[in-house]
């Protein structure tokens, strides 16, 4: 096991990249702690899989280095890196039995038969396939096959990291939850570094200690689920995390106030003078509809059980609010924001407030 360092890493699939648009991954410097559970979250095509394949060695980065611990593995082939990877679609060896499938990575590394059968048994127990161990993998359903893939990824105990590339896409929702819980408990038990690629925020937030949000080939934020929720570092994070995502409104920032077309909103702190496009971001959870604040036009109310989502707009810009089940919407609603929950963005990046709260 080892800490994974990405040093000035960037990748382009083109031999002669010209502009930043040609890069699938833009330059990044990150350290992934040994034993951490990470989720790589982002929309399709944002470079998640490329990054994962660079770590596993299936793709050689065009720029920068990858280090496992102190060892530079940029040029090391996959086999030498001692990592496990589970792919989006089940990859099983059809003609082998389930048992042989699980034993395959161990046998290829010349382990003793006794150790192998013991490992296979315990992994089979974990994925709940002990009763089909002697069946050929071919006849099984897609989710059973994917469980074999997961099992094959976890069968080696000495791996540097286990990488998951959207592994639960083909699995039933019920089973998804169960397997995710198992992965989580495995992580606690054995402490492998796990990197989990997904575009599903629920999956990312429940699985990982740290979520890495990617957008257009860039890591825009690496943080705990709480940090992503409270202080999204980039407007994309605000928009992508949460359901519905963060409300973003163009505003002039004037010290500790934000000036909007329809009025002024107090901020939780004072801000320096900002250049570029400035916006404020407020989560729907912290929008209150009442008698005071900015005039709010309701378009639609969605009842989703424990709370209601109000879709509406302020001065023509869409703003959503989340209301508790019992709460009522006044006839002529005004929207107010919790000042200390407002984040300020300049050119999409979050600006830290000056000093403490006002």
């Amino acid at each position: 096991m080892a800490q994974i360092t990405l040093s000035k890493l960037a990748h382009s699939y083109l031999p002669q990249p010209k502009g930043p648009g040609d890069y699938a991954l833009k330059e990044m410097d990150h350290v992934w702690q040994d034993g951490g559970a990470y989720a790589l979250l982002g929309a399709s095509g944002c470079g998640k899989t490329t990054l994962l394949n660079i770590i596993s060695g299936l793709v050689r980065p065009s720029h920068g280095r990858v280090l496992f611990g102190d060892r530079d593995v940029t040029d090391a082939p996959t086999a030498e890196r001692n990592i496990a990877q589970v792919f989006q679609f089940p990859v099983v060896y059809d003609t082998m039995t389930v048992r042989d499938n699980l034993a395959f990575p161990l046998r290829n590394r010349g382990m003793e038969a006794g150790v192998i059968s013991q490992r296979v048994q315990s992994i089979a127990q974990m994925i709940g396939m002990t009763d089909v161990l002697d069946r050929k993998a071919r006849g099984l359903t897609a989710d059973a096959k994917q469980k074999i893939s997961l099992g094959r990824g976890m069968v080696r105990q000495d791996v540097n990291a286990i990488l998951f590339d959207e592994p639960l896409t083909v699995i039933d929702p019920q089973m998804k939850w169960e397997l995710r819980t198992q992965l989580k408990s495995l992580h606690r038990e054995f402490g492998h570094t796990m990197i989990y690629v997904t575009h599903d925020q629920t999956e990312a937030l429940t699985f990982a200690d740290k979520v890495v949000v990617m957008h257009e080939g860039r890591v825009v934020q690496m943080g705990t689920p709480e940090e992503l929720f409270e202080t999204p570092a980039h407007t994309f994070v605000g928009y992508f995390i949460g359901s519905p995502g963060m409300n973003l409104l163009d505003a002039q920032i004037d010290g500790s106030h934000a000036v909007l077309p329809d009025g002024t909103v107090p901020l939780g702190a004072a801000y320096p003078v900002l250049q570029g496009r400035t916006q404020i971001g407020i989560r729907p959870e912290f929008v209150t509809l009442g008698a005071e604040g900015l005039p709010y036009a309701v378009t639609r109310v969605e009842d989703v059980g424990r709370h209601r989502i109000v879709r509406g707009s302020i001065a023509g810009k869409p703003v959503n609010a989340i209301l508790d089940e019992g709460a009522t919407i006044p006839a002529d609603p005004k929207a107010s924001f919790q000042p200390n929950k407002i984040n300020v963005y300049a050119d999409d990046w979050r600006i830290a407030p000056q000093g403490g709260a006002v």
């Binding site: 394949n53 086999a79 990592i83 679609f89 059809d94 395959f104």
Partner: protein, 291 residues
């Protein structure tokens, strides 16, 4: 669930039956017709029962041809299938070179059979053929017109040259359908090259290979033009395969009755072997599939 039965639906099949009758059944019946009759000329025929079949089954000539035929098919399958797989494995997977390879591979398949025969007939000649002359110049005693072994080698090499591409192209198609993730997973599992072939590539190719083997078997079992053009079945009868023999009998000696019985038996042998092969393969396939 109850389904309504309506046997009038069978009328829907009628047009197909009629077409098949004219294209296959009726011509076949004329052969059946000949096979049970004898003639002394003047277009007068009389009933001969199963005599021709009896004769053919016990004829040494048929036995010898059948034996040669079986050996020939076995040899070319044993060469073409592994060679075709080997070529497919080593072909470029994409890009300009893969297209070029595909075109080059397809070329022999596009050449008419008797042209293939003529090419090899001249190619192998000791006096003017590039191959024959070169071998002679190297001091190798090669002459497919008098030496049965040389004749066999020539016919087999010709068939390999002509048809290995088919196996290779089918195997290549099978290989192309394997998702990249399988190879990546194999790398991660540290599988050897042999394991990748044995556990990933071969199982994924199994379907197309079965078709390739079946096609090559049937085709080689019916081979006529090429050996006829190259060796004419000789020297002696050493390369007289079933259809060469049959043609001699039917159009050379004009023994229509025995030839008809011969061709029906020939047809049944091909049908039987293909059916047996197919059944065995699909059963193996099912056995591999678990329950």
């Amino acid at each position: 669930m109850d389904k309504t039965q309506n046997n009038r639906a069978w009328f829907m099949v009628l047009p197909v039956l009629i077409v098949v009758a004219f294209s296959a059944v009726i011509p076949l019946m004329t052969v059946v017709n000949y096979s049970v009759q004898d003639t002394f000329g003047n277009n007068e025929f009389f009933w001969a029962g199963l005599d021709w079949f009896d004769d053919t089954i016990h004829s040494e000539r048929m036995h010898d041809s059948l034996f040669r035929q079986a050996i020939f098919s076995a040899i070319i399958l044993a060469i073409e299938v592994p060679l075709g797989i080997f070529i497919a494995l080593n072909m470029p997977k994409r890009g300009f070179w893969s297209s070029l390879c595909l075109v080059l591979m397809a070329l022999p398949l596009l050449i008419p059979f008797n042209v293939v025969g003529t090419i090899w007939q001249i190619f192998g000649r000791v006096d003017i053929g590039l191959l024959g002359h070169t071998l002679a110049a190297l001091g190798i005693d090669y002459n497919y017109t008098n030496d049965p072994l040389d004749a066999w080698i020539t016919v087999i090499v010709m068939d390999v040259w002509h048809w290995t591409s088919l196996v290779a192209l089918l195997a290549y198609a099978g290989l192309q359908s394997i998702p990249q993730a399988y190879y990546q997973a194999a790398k991660i599992d540290q599988a050897s090259r042999w394991s990748v072939f044995r556990y990933i590539e071969l199982p994924k190719m199994a379907g197309v290979l079965m078709i390739a083997i079946l096609l090559r078997f049937m085709d080689s079992f019916m081979i006529y033009t090429e050996p006829f053009v190259v060796t004419g079945g000789g020297p002696g009868n050493s390369t007289t395969f079933l259809s060469v023999d049959l043609a001699k009998m039917a159009t050379g000696q004009f023994d229509l009755g025995p030839a008809a019985a011969y061709s029906i038996l020939y047809y049944l042998v091909i049908l039987l072997v293909s059916w047996a092969f197919y059944t065995v393969m699909t059963n193996l396939d099912r056995a591999e599939g678990g329950k």
